[in-house]
Amino acid sequence: MNPILETKNLHKQFGGLTAVDNFSLQIKEGEILGLIGPNGAGKTTFFNLITGFLKPDSGIVLLKGKNITKLKPHKIANLGMVRTFQIIKPFKQMLAVENVAVACLSDRAKRKRNGDDILSKTLKSLRQVEIIPPAENMFKLASELSHGYTKRLDIARALALEPEIILLDEPFGGLGLKETPIMNSLIKRLNEQGLTIIIIEHKMRELMKLAHRIAVMHFGEKIAEGTPKEISKNQRVCQAYLGKEGDELFV
């Protein structure tokens, strides 16, 4: 089967620093791929490259066989690949419901809406991530929502575009004990509905439960790729993380 997303020899240099080094990756339709690596490995840069926020120095990005390397971010989003941000980026001075309504005004959402009005589409997305009920949540300013809700608001906004592939940059970052399982089951549910998902995450416990496959980045390079089990036994990966042998990282 053809991969839904494929990068070939993606390369990005920031001055003397190679952030992403000849990175090739294939993502199959319907899978959850975990992208891990120590801080500064180039994971977020990789997201920025494939979503058009940064232009690669060389290499190409193919979304469903279409070359999207030089497209602008909004074009890529409208083609069905939508991202969230590591540092959440809600529209702070707008109501939660308005945050999601904006996404419903994108070209793709308009096309996919067929007949549904913007408001009901918006409410559907908010329900999907369990921001509503309770109904009053949607009338809170995004800046008044808790961190966990805001993280889910970001995802609701992405879902409103009815993406085929969603890129989550540390969805568990900063979540508490109560919020973590909600996020976990949300991601699982979305994947069961057919959504392809790439997750950057440091919380290995959560990622190991979710990911079908894991790719490991280190200094911009892919040093390993495989099932969670394979990765947890990989010597090179453990060294990259801990600088020593041992598998206590993944317990």
């Binding site: 909004h74 941000f85 980026k89 001075q93 904006v102 913007i118 109904a135 009338f139 409103a160």
Partner: protein, 331 residues
């Protein structure tokens, strides 16, 4: 926090907002004093000018420090069309606005690459460039002495008053509609986080152009009206003071509210005239009033008043549908 009940009440209280234009329409019953009406005419022009800035700076987040550019270019354009082609004010003012649109597009170009403070500083320069150009071609522009002897709006002050009121109410109505529309929602998303808007599939470039064009139009018609009101337009119109005034009026009323600009413009225009007798202290008193407003009502006069009264002050018009679909509110 806005809750469902408040929102619904707010929507139904909306009609109250029409009290203000009605009072202004009836104002000449009290007095038709030339001097007083002129103050209100000026306030109307500045209300349009300030609210045009508010759409661009307050709603879309493109913090321009050079709004006088649109105002001035359109004023000169209206003046020139009137003087050289003999067009009447009712034609030159909209044409000036159209020219404001073109200038808006041109100024939008640097905003695509320069963000925040960098754009603000760049925008500050444009009016200065225009003022220099004006002085370089005195044959067409009148140079330092400007264009004078323009047609007045009307010889009757009452007609001029109503024309300015029509201009103000019409402009504010349209700008408010835009700010609360789907397009306005997109403008606000660009203000709050441009990257996130782009990631959400919004063509931010396109919408920034729209915002500049609309803002340019309304600043332009305000400029054209001013030129005909004074029957004169000179290079001083590009003074940064004018640009700052637009922002100041909008800020006093409440940035991003559109209608706040009207309150700000009226407050300052009236204050300016009341204090005319104590000219030496005018700047000080004005500054104190501003400090007090910003200290105690940092989000603006109008925002605070409307909040206390429970009146609506702009929300995405798509939410009106909630009122009709009861089932949604119960979910």
């Amino acid at each position: 926090m806005v809750n469902m009940k408040n929102l619904k009440e707010n929507i139904s209280k909306r009609g109250l907002i029409f009290v203000i234009p009605i009072l202004l329409l009836l104002f000449p019953i009290l007095t038709t004093d030339y001097y007083i009406l002129t103050i209100l005419i000026t306030a109307n022009i500045y209300a349009v000018f300030a609210s045009s800035w508010d759409l661009l700076g307050g709603v879309t987040g493109q913090f321009s420090l050079g709004q006088a550019l649109f105002f001035g270019v359109a004023a000169y354009m209206s003046g020139a069309l009137n003087l050289y082609l003999g067009l009447a004010p009712w034609m030159t003012i909209p044409l000036g606005g159209a020219f404001g649109v073109i200038v808006g597009f041109l100024v939008a170009l640097p905003s695509l690459r320069l963000k925040g403070a960098y754009f603000a500083i760049t925008s500050l320069i444009f009016p200065g460039i225009l003022a220099t150009l004006i002085l370089m071609y005195p044959d067409i522009t009148g140079g330092d002495s400007g264009l004078y002897g323009l047609s007045s709006i009307s010889s009757e002050i009452l007609i001029t008053y109503y024309a300015s009121l029509l201009l103000m109410i019409g402009s504010i109505f349209v700008l408010l509609r835009i700010a609360n529309s789907n397009m306005g929602l997109i403008f606000r998303s660009i203000r709050d986080d441009e990257d996130a808007a782009e990631a959400t599939g919004i063509n931010t470039t396109k919408y920034k152009f729209y915002s500049f064009a609309i803002s340019g139009f309304f600043a332009g018609i305000a400029g054209g009206f001013q030129a005909h009101l004074l029957m004169f337009v000179g290079p001083y119109i590009f003074n940064a003071f004018y640009s700052f005034q637009a922002i100041l009026f909008a800020a006093l009323g409440g940035i991003g509210t559109i209608i706040g600009s009207v309150g700000g413009a009226y407050l300052m225009s009236i204050l300016n005239e009341v204090l005319r007798d104590i000219a030496e202290f005018r700047v000080i008193v004005t500054a104190i009033v501003m400090l007090l407003v910003f200290r105690f009502l940092p989000r603006g006069l109008l925002r605070e008043i409307t909040r206390r009264l429970g009146l609506p002050l702009g929300f995405w018009s798509g939410l009106k549908k909630l009122r009709r679909s009861k089932d949604e509110s119960d979910s």
